[in-house]
């Protein structure tokens, strides 16, 4: 966090000054490790073993926050009797189909939740094929509101007992064997986490892509969620699980998404083969109980925002105008489509996949096979210049004169040259003003898309072709400002906020209607323009308001700063402790320093009547209001593609055998078995070292915004790797010299930094060396400094839920000296592939 978020990290330093104990668990000893109480070195790709062992520690020592767990989680819920755990099937859950490599999740359901259709609503093939799980960003999949349960937690089929059994072999010894963490260090961590949880204290977990970029990435986060729920650390001040984002407004780009499978506000993108019309779609996507029971209002209001008067009840509010999924349209599927010649055109906006995505060669081969490519960026990034300076030109795999891709480079405005909002990791929207006009032809993305849209519409004219109507009927008229006709970003924010029937701004998402009388571009952002005021632009200093600072910016939803904060009070509505008092029931309403995440007048004693819908179906003691049962899910009965409980699987490429199960890697992981994407065999002696990739404070992502700047480039001028003294000695690497890193994809050269910060791990008597590589360099980007592309090393192997690549753990070989050039480089890789 010190390395990538130094500004946010000041608060960690401050917390430490006030007595917080901070641990840093990372394969790499970074600037964070240097400034915490305890650094814990871990083998990349083994965090579920560690988290599972913490869960086991809590359960086997009876350290869970029992009152919280019983009231607020699904610990007591009974699970289908046909469910089989990984303990029964040596690393598989019930329902796995060896042939397709997919799970049928029906046996994972709660007791009594029998799928009504052949194709389960929240799962199954179509669901998995289009990253359906990812659409649960802000919700749970459908399940009963009140399934059978055993409050004594003794029934072997209750979640609590299933959990206990599932993690029973995740012991400190197993942590030592797989993660390389000594038992006394594990003991210290377990003691600190449990001692700092409960009524009086809370523990927070902070993670970043070191947890997500794995073939079991989603389950890493799930494991942390289980631990936090067992310890009562969700919905309470000082608790939670915080995802640090990769750069500014990545949170915003999932809320109002740049993802293929989501519509604004975590509404699922309709599927061509699963959804007939609006009613059918609404029936299939989500449960009727819990807050998502209101989804019709959100979807209809979104359609009204997009198609205005053209969207009416009679025409399903133009639901048929929405694009449809037919399968996986994610980034890596797109790249394969390019190589296959199916994908002809490509917009790359503020991204640099030629350097930033896994298997850079596949990325560039895709780019070279397009008809046209649009790159919008501040600099001529490698993605725009691949045709002349990609590594494949040097090896002869690509020849400039044979690349037919027409590249349009459009210069973009930087964040100080345009107005708008950033949404950061805690869902906080902050408005920023434009400081100056962008130079020359540089324009904001808003300008680009708006005027592109206008030009397309001019081309289509008044045409009556039905196929054009989704574009010609789109509401596409924002005020244009100045000579450059910059669309008003505030007008867009107003549209996102939504308007009532009278045309006035909506104040809250509770005002959204399912009858077409309201419009709203993103239901979770409704209220950001309440009272016609740009709430995101508020900047009351913290000295002039309380510590929750509700008047600084605006947080979705409803300016709520801690989600699920009903859980900060006990089932009766009283604060768990005076020290951790936050939101509580004062006898007539919920109150406290934050906006309560609950119906304000819902009595803690409320019990839902039979057949109740939406939030009315949840009791006054159900804080997790987005879930269909209002409970925090220790166990996930539906919605995930690779199992209801996090399970340790080795990375796809690992030098170590899975000591927990016969199943080596995630059985449901997505592999891309193509010549462009060869894999290192697991346990291969040709690739004995573990690598992980990382970032440095001095650079930003692929370096496009930092390498061209001399002041940043001089601070870290060359691509390098960090290796231990022992590894350097073993291979013959010299500090300041060169190393060649080899995988089945390619080989790259890096300068060598030999350091005592990286240490060999002892795993079950065996030594495993790890190598750490910051990935900020590339062959151009207008860089003052350049270097080989680290992301050329990882393969494309994906988490089955959200299709993120496993770039944080893989295997490689390391040779002293610089890499071969030209054809000789290909020969080297060929020799490795042949084994």
């Amino acid at each position: 966090m010190a390395e990538c978020h130094p500004v946010g990290y000041q608060w960690v330093m401050e917390a430490r000054e006030r007595g917080a104990k901070v641990f840093h668990i990372d394969p790499r000893f970074s600037r964070t490790s240097a400034t915490v109480d305890r650094y814990v070195a871990i083998r990349a790709g083994t965090d579920i073993v560690l988290l599972g062992a913490l869960i086991n520690y809590v359960l086997s020592n009876g350290l869970d926050f029992r009152e919280y767990v019983l009231a607020y989680t699904n610990a007591a819920t009974l699970v289908n009797r046909d469910f089989r755990d990984t303990e029964d099937l040596d690393g598989l859950f019930s329902g796995f189909d060896e042939e397709t490599g997919r799970y049928d999740p029906s046996t994972w359901a709660y007791e009594g939740d029998v799928p009504e259709e052949e194709e389960p609503v929240e799962g199954g093939e179509h669901h998995a094929e289009a990253a359906g799980s990812d659409s649960y960003g802000a919700r749970g999949a459908g399940a009963s509101a009140s399934p059978p349960s055993d409050p004594t937690l003794t029934d072997p089929r209750c979640v609590y007992q299933i959990l206990k059994r599932h993690y029973s072999r995740y012991t400190p010894e197993m942590v030592e064997e797989l993660c390389g963490i000594p038992p006394e260090q594990f003991g210290e961590l377990a003691e600190a986490v449990t001692a700092n949880s409960g009524r009086e204290r809370t523990t927070a977990w902070v993670y970043s892509v070191g947890w997500t970029q794995h073939s079991v990435g989603v389950q890493y986060i799930r494991a942390a969620a289980i631990l936090q729920l067992l310890l009562g650390n969700m919905g309470r001040p000082g608790g939670g699980i915080m995802a640090l984002r990769g750069h500014a407004s990545i949170q915003g780009s999932t809320d109002i998404p740049t993802l293929f499978n989501l519509l604004p506000g975590y509404i699922a993108m309709p599927h061509a083969h699963r959804h007939d019309g609006l009613d059918h779609y609404l029936e299939q996507e989500g449960a009727d109980t819990g807050w998502w029971g209101n989804r019709r209002a959100y979807v209809v209001s979104l359609l009204k925002a997009w198609w205005g008067d053209a969207a009416t009840e009679d025409n399903d509010y133009r639901f048929d105008y929405l694009p449809r999924l037919t399968g996986d349209h994610g980034h890596y599927a797109t790249v394969m489509g390019q190589i296959d010649g199916v994908v002809k055109g490509y917009f790359v906006i503020g991204e640099n996949p030629a350097v930033g995505s896994a298997n850079g060669k596949a990325q560039r081969l895709g780019l070279a096979n397009l008809d046209w490519l649009v790159v919008r960026d501040l600099m001529l990034v490698e993605t725009a210049t691949f045709w002349k300076d990609a590594p494949e030109i040097e090896t002869g795999e690509l020849r400039t004169e044979e690349i037919g891709t027409e590249v349009f480079f459009l210069p973009a405005a930087s964040h100080v040259e345009k107005e708008g909002t950033f949404t950061n990791t805690q869902r906080l929207l902050q408005w920023r003003e434009k400081a100056l006009d962008p130079p020359g032809d540089c324009r904001s993305d808003l300008w680009f898309y708006y005027h592109l849209g206008k030009r397309i519409r001019r081309r289509l004219g008044e045409g009556d072709d039905d196929v054009d109507r989704p574009v010609t009927e789109l509401t596409w008229d924002y005020p244009e400002i100045g000579e450059r006709r910059e669309p008003s970003a505030e007008a867009v924010l107003r549209e996102i906020n939504g308007t009532a029937a009278d045309g006035g701004p909506l104040g809250s998402l509770r005002e959204l209607k399912p009858d077409g009388s309201t419009s709203c571009g993103c239901w979770i952002y409704c209220g950001v323009y309440a009272d016609g005021v740009n709430q995101a632009a508020r900047r009351t200093p913290h000295t002039e308001q309380g510590p929750v600072a509700l008047e600084w910016g605006w947080a979705w939803p409803a300016n709520r700063r801690i989600l699920y904060n009903r859980a900060s009070a006990d089932p009766q509505g009283r604060p768990w402790s005076e020290r951790k008092k936050y939101v509580y029931w004062d006898g007539t309403k919920w109150t406290g320093p934050d906006v309560p995440d609950f119906e304000e007048d819902k009595d803690p004693g409320y019990r839902p009547p039979e057949g109740a819908k939406a939030q009315a179906a949840l009791a006054g003691t159900d804080p997790f209001i987005m879930q269909s049962d209002g409970k925090g899910w220790l166990y996930v009965p539906s919605g995930l593609s690779d199992g209801p409980l996090p399970t340790h699987y080795e990375p796809h490429e690992s030098p170590v055998r899975n000591a927990l199960y016969g199943q080596q890697a995630n059985p449901a992981r997505r592999t891309v078995d193509r010549p462009e994407n060869p894999y290192n065999p697991a346990l291969s002696p040709r690739f004995p070292y573990v690598y992980t990739t990382s970032r440095l404070t001095e650079h930003h992502t692929t370096g496009a915004m930092s390498r061209p700047l001399p002041y940043l480039a001089e601070l870290q001028p060359e691509a390098f790797c960090e290796v231990s003294r022992e590894m350097a000695e073993e291979i013959g690497l010299e500090n300041g010299g060169w190393a060649t890193i080899v995988t089945a994809r390619t080989a790259i050269e890096l300068r060598v930094l030999v350091t005592g910060r990286v240490r060999p791990l002892r795993l079950n008597g065996r030594t495993v060396h790890q190598i750490v590589m910051p990935y900020h360099w590339g062959y151009s980007s207008g860089g003052v400094v350049t270097g080989d592309v680290v992301n050329d090393l990882p393969s494309i192997v994906l988490d089955p839920n959200v299709y993120i690549q496993e770039s944080k753990a893989g295997t490689c070989d390391v040779l002293p000296g610089r890499r071969p050039r030209g054809r000789a480089l290909l020969d080297l890789i060929e020799r490795y592939r042949d084994g």
Binding site: Q10, S33, A34, T35, P710, Y711, A713, Q716, F720, G756
Partner: protein
């Protein structure tokens, strides 16, 4: 002196090595880059303070510990660079800081060996001497120096020197009470060889570990004595000569 003496207290216990100070300094003061050299010395690629690096973050790798310290000109009470400057380019400001006026500096370079810390240096291309100005222009505008402003963890604190010294002593006391017995101040003592520095540090190890001289002395300290000795010697010589002549009777 119209104003209070202003200075820096750099607390290395909360430094996270982000180098925001180095960058902010260069941005504000328009300092050129210092070359693009991979030094393979931990995360330090700018090497040391110099004509084009006025804040420098040192990285010291020890067993299980990674020390980071943002170094800067010390703005000595007794500043040798100022003493030896023949043109008056170096002067003491109303904030009791030491600043080079680049339009006056003639590049003689006397100040370079005079600095006991090796801070001030000449640029190869223009020959003139450059160093931290403690953002004299910002101070005159009522703003804090760029490095302190950019520091996210308050490792670099700016303020009246008296206040900073008090704060620093409290901080050391607290760290000692917490068992961080190796915490110590460097440079704040008015009785040290340079009369105390306007920029002082809280360190977690010996100064040498960070590349700082353990007991710096203003290099012009002995000048008065040297002049006295020289004067004395001249007088003795004159007396001797006088005696010689006095002894001769015509």
């Amino acid at each position: 002196m119209a104003e209070q003496r202003m200075g820096f207290f750099t607390d290395t216990t909360v430094c996270i090595g982000c180098k925001a100070c180095e960058v902010a300094c260069k941005e504000w003061n328009d300092v050129p880059d210092d070359g693009f050299v991979f030094r393979a010395t931990s995360y330090d690629n700018t090497g040391a303070l110099g004509a084009s690096t006025w804040r420098h973050v040192a990285f010291v790798e020890q067993d299980g510990r990674w020390l980071m310290m943002s170094d800067v000109c010390k703005h000595c009470t007794h500043a040798a660079c100022l003493d030896v400057c023949p043109t008056g380019a170096l002067f003491r400001t109303e904030f009791d800081t030491v600043v080079v006026q680049s339009d006056v500096c003639n590049g003689c370079g006397y100040c370079v060996p005079a600095c006991p810390y090796g801070v001030i240096d000449r640029r190869e291309d223009d020959g003139r001497a450059w160093k931290c100005t403690l953002c004299y222009d910002r101070l005159r505008g009522g703003m804090e120096p760029a490095c302190a402003k950019a520091c996210p963890t308050k490792s670099i604190q700016f303020g009246p020197l008296d206040e900073l010294r008090e704060r620093a002593r409290d901080r050391v006391e607290r760290l000692h009470a917490e068992g961080v017995t190796e915490a110590r101040l460097y440079g704040e003592d008015p009785d040290n060889g340079v009369g105390g520095t306007g920029a002082f540090f809280l360190l977690l190890d010996e100064p040498e570990t960070y590349g700082l001289p353990p007991d710096p002395v203003v290099t012009t300290r002995d000048l008065p004595a040297m002049w006295r000795w020289a004067g004395g010697a001249a007088l003795a010589l004159a007396a001797g000569v006088a005696v010689c002549f006095a002894g001769r009777k015509p």
